[in-house]
Symmetry: D2
Subunit: 258 residues, 4 copies
């Protein structure tokens, strides 16, 4: 099982989340690329630490919207969205390269994640960016999403992720934010759900239904109070149960010249 979290989401003087602590807990780092958050020094630092700790780096690509943290949908021209995603992946790749590494996957952020889950045009922009830049990069998404089918149709690998701290509906989609049960705060319950996702590939939906949910990665949130402690609890529980924690991408031996 892979553990992923959003990292490097500060900007300039402002910080968000505890990058250092999370880089000890995750196996995959979704690094912000400067469009919704992230700046060059932060990107470099996260890439450096990730490389030194064997954490895989992915490009957390987003709308160009620092003021909105990439969380509000923008009706982009599709070619422009595609090219802005390429720009972000490439910029992050430059910092990975300093430490003998590469961007290993792509995860859309915020409103782009949600738009690409249902909108065929925005999903196709994400897939086109990957196809153009490096079609071997997998994309992290939700099973059954439009992005899933768009990527698969183009021969781009999809990696499914689950959320132990989010409520699910019986159809396997998430309880929308703002509705009761959307976010779970009971630590023990979240840890138990993570364990069930990792070992049994299923999760209990809001109405008690047991939903099949085969995922290769668990998304840990980093910017909420108690986030690091929760991530630590999840990791410890999985490790204790003997669940192997590792990135969903095979990484070659580190470049000796890196």
């Amino acid at each position: 099982m892979d553990l992923n979290a959003d990292l490097g989401e500060g900007f300039g003087i402002w910080r968000l989340g505890d990058d250092e602590a999370l880089l000890d807990l995750v196996t995959s780092a979704n690094v912000a690329c400067g469009f919704h958050a992230g700046d060059a020094m932060t990107m470099r630092r996260v890439c450096e630490i990730a490389a030194s700790r064997g954490v895989t780096v992915g490009a957390q690509v987003a709308y160009r919207d620092l003021a909105g943290f990439g969380r509000r949908r923008i009706d982009y021209d599709i070619s422009e969205l595609r090219d802005e995603i390429i720009y972000q992946i490439a910029a992050l790749d430059g910092f990975c390269r300093l430490y003998g590494e590469h961007v290993r996957y792509v995860k859309p952020h915020g409103a782009l994640y949600h738009a690409a889950a249902t909108d065929v045009w925005q999903a196709s922009a994400v897939v086109a960016a990957i196809s153009d830049y490096d079609r071997t990069l997998p994309v992290l998404c939700q099973p059954g999403s439009t992005l899933d089918s768009a990527a698969t149709g183009e021969g781009v690998r999809t990696v499914f992720e689950g959320y132990a701290d989010r409520g699910y509906l019986a159809d396997g989609t998430l309880v929308p934010r703002g509705q009761p049960g959307a976010v779970l705060s009971n630590v023990d319950a979240v840890v138990a759900r993570a364990f069930r996702l990792a070992t049994a590939a299923e999760i209990e939906a809001h109405d008690g239904t047991i939903v099949s949910c085969a995922v290769e990665s668990l998304c840990l949130h980093g910017d909420t109070p108690g986030a690091v402690e929760l991530a630590r609890r999840v990791r410890t529980a999985l490790e204790s149960a003997g669940v192997p924690l590792m990135s969903f991408v095979e990484r070659p031996d580190p470049d000796p010249e890196g």
Copy 2:
């Protein structure tokens, strides 16, 4: 002799200069990377045309200052400047890669160009960015500048450029903008100066002194009225005289997989 010009300096809806026309005249394109100008779609388009016409692409790196077009000095933290330059080079490299190409050189833009010519800290930031990202990339600069010595000291190749349409002082530096004789507008005179620079490695200074000026590239301005016509005149004059026009970097045969 190489002919270079700044390209891709629009942003969003706004345009500056005639990229298409200049890409028929130059051998090297200094492509804006989004910090002082330039956006993802423009970067991609310029890289595509450049690749198709055999024009070499360099990263025109700049301060993060769209409102000031990178033309006003900013007292950057040096590490931040270095990392922002890496970010820009890498982003542009991503678009070159789509067309089987790479960024082949670096040219600082505007106030960074001027700061790096005299300020050892800013010069070192440019050189450190190149050293970190790809130390085989040459940097385009003025002979005798601080950037020249900083790069040479770190083993980074410098390529000198001259300006046929700018006035020179007897010491080989440019007449500062705003002073009489800083900019020459007589087309015939500019063409004659370009020819002399290219064939005799010298230029007549403001006071009549003949200054030795061995350069590998001539910088053509693209954003002034008549710029394209002037560039065409210069190119034609050099071609007519049998001066070979080519990039200052050797480019391998195009990547067949590009």
Copy 3:
């Protein structure tokens, strides 16, 4: 009849349209406020010229989106949209104040204009901004739009505008851009339509239907080739026919201390 046009839509080094020329032709200037276009020096200059020529200034409020020129819909939080509109009106008001004037009306720009025409939430954000800042400011909109009813419901005056160079459907709405007949380029036809709108309050729709269209203002486009000449032709035609051209807001005598 009032003639309005978008002005001050450059940013930094980049220009769009011919502000100087249009300020001789319009009676109302929709001045960009820095969010989709416009910068402080441009805003000041346009306000100065407008004041000197007796042109009324309105705030052309927009999404925060320089890269997209405010032309792509953003799903804003409504409170944030309201407050960003207040910010823009107030900033422009500051420059009007330097010349003894005030912002006299509000016109949403681009995607906000279109969203507010159909989306009750975005329309309500525009109206709330006006209500909060100065409820005597009229809003320029299309007859029958959601913004029209939202403003009227809150006691904010609406001023309707027509487009002589856009095709209309039989229901009085515009032919969507991208469809045949959306934009008319025949100068004589546009001038004739402007005249009919101004004198008979009607316009011929795409299908030949005569549509009743009572408007207080005609919108002249400023950023297309031939825009200034077309605007001049429209103005001359209306003046020749004795149509009084004046702002739709009564302006008091200039502040003697301004």
Copy 4:
């Protein structure tokens, strides 16, 4: 004695300092206006709370530099700097107006504060902005600074501020940041210095010299660990000693229509 602090210095999702807590302690709020920090919703909220608690609002004007938090010097064109300052004051004034208030003073932020303290051009830009917008607004600055003399020369009132938690040199200027003794962290010592500044108009310099330092305001820092507690200690000490705490501007009775 007035107590001032920088407020509203978050941006979008990012927060900095505890605005709510500080608004209970200060008599003057230097509100960020969106150029180095601050967004429309935050500006509005701070203005609302300030109005309700009787805290005076000033415009904390800055360079356009979110990425650098306005802390790095930019060699602005002076007219542009002037107009950008006007833009910021006016935007904030718009939010004050919603609560029956006005911007009551101006304080330059960060690198602009430092530049205006020594550079006659940047100081003159600040003063010109105030003269143009509202010449009755005082400017908060350091005694003996270039901004002090530039403002005085134009008839703009200057208000001097002192720093209880910063080291002073014997000439009354601050120990530069980065040097030993630049920042004092001993709470008791800082409180004692605040008391001495407020009651005896003097401060002990780094070398033991007693420096005369007549100030109308004390600047409290809000973004360091323990900042709120330190501010509370200072306020309590002054109150206990019977030092009247009040803004340096006379505020009329609240506008009954506000």
